[in-house]
Symmetry: none
Subunit: 258 residues, 2 copies
């Protein structure tokens, strides 16, 4: 399951590769999680060109020349592939073939990828667009949530998943069990900066490690949410525990508020 930094790089790479390509044909393999009929999607995007591909929250948005958009959520196991022969890809959901003979294939062994044509606009801010005032406002609305549950709640902030929540909290030195209503203002300020810092640095790391990546995930550089590590960079043992129903990695360096 790629998270925001991986998805950001995927979107950037897909945009570079596919921008201005003309969609010559569409093949459907699984439409269970498509919000319209295949005929409708066919009609709307066939013979258009790709105008832009970008990430928003955990979704990759394909914007076509006619202003039509297709939002793709990879869920746990989905992936993008650019191939000349789509037969090489198993567990296909959909394939768009372009006039240059290349195809974009979206696959998913679990079949849980969602495809939404022209979805209703979502006004929950992306994790890269929030500031501390926004966090404080949402904390006032939900003062009793754990910070772990808060950060990964896509109705509050879009884009942070289980792994990066742990990374952010470790970097901000906040225990994942902290109650958001108990966080001092200055800690919220620092958290806000840390969210941006951790995510942007991860994007840079991923670009460095695999510049062309459009599938999979890169996790090797994570400081605590990393089964390969036994200690944080500062030498504290990493604790693995279910918090907010999620496998959570943290250390005693992190202060528990509330």
């Amino acid at each position: 399951m790629p998270e925001l930094p991986d998805l950001t790089v995927f979107a950037s790479n897909l945009n570079t590769i596919l921008k201005n390509k003309e969609v010559k044909s569409i093949e459907f393999f699984n439409t269970k999680r498509l919000n319209v009929t295949r005929e409708e999607l066919q009609k709307f995007i066939n013979n258009t060109t790709i105008h832009e591909i970008r990430r928003s929250g955990k979704e990759i948005e394909f914007i076509f020349s006619n202003d039509i958009s297709l939002f793709v959520h990879l869920m746990l196991t989905g992936g993008f592939y650019i191939v000349r022969d789509i037969q090489n890809i198993k567990f296909k959901i959909i394939a768009l073939t372009f006039s240059d003979g290349n195809s974009l294939v979206i696959n998913d062994p679990k079949g849980l990828v969602t495809l939404k044509l022209n979805p209703v606009v979502n006004n929950v801010p992306d994790a890269l667009d929030i500031d501390s005032d926004y966090l404080k406002k949402k904390i006032l609305e939900k003062p009793k949530m754990s910070i772990k549950a808060f950060l990964i709640d896509q109705k509050i902030i879009r884009g942070i998943g289980n792994a990066y929540a742990d990374e952010i909290l470790w970097e901000a030195k906040i225990s994942p069990k902290s109650i958001v209503g108990k966080l001092p203002d200055e800690v919220i300020n620092y958290l806000s900066k840390t969210i941006t810092k951790v995510l942007l640095e991860a994007i840079e790391q991923i670009k460095k490690i695999n510049p062309g990546i459009i599938s999979g995930e890169i996790r090797e550089f994570l400081s605590v949410h990393n089964p390969r590590r036994r200690e944080s960079p500062n030498g504290y043992p990493i604790i693995k525990e279910k918090i907010a129903s999620k496998t959570t990695y943290y250390t005693e360096e992190q202060v528990l508020y509330g």
Copy 2:
């Protein structure tokens, strides 16, 4: 807070003392938790005689000769007193004075005792009236509850409180954290028998320790829900922990299902 066994003995003793006594006057001190006006209660029970006093669930039912009933729930801190001078009792809620000059006083320092004249009939079975088929039926309806929450839920079984739930579960060797849907049939059968056994034996113990009791509670003989004990009768250390929002005492002797 007396529980079912204490209340059973209270009812039996009050019945012995007050059966066939004639109500000569009623005094009201706190009618906040009376379901009718004081005038109405006055009108219905003055000059009647007490026909029977019995326990049902956690309530004591006073049945009068005219078939009127008054249900009393002592809540956490209520109590019954039989006195010749009601002035000796603090925190009075109501006092019934009989033709023999004695008065029944119900008091409650917290004022939370409830008095219900002719309440609507409650068809949740009393803890002393259930069988294993009933338990199995209710478990199918709520398979995911913890057994601790299940036993003390007055919408499922009436009469079991926090202390006796612990005693029953210890005696039945079931961990309070067990999920009811995961209990094997034979364990439910045994639990059903254990509920009856623990409650009836407690009634006998209380009668032996204080035959005339109509107030307070007797807890000294409890096996695990007993702050004075550090080990169960079998020598296992007693664990004290919040389960289902209640202070719960249990031991490792008890099997966790689910």
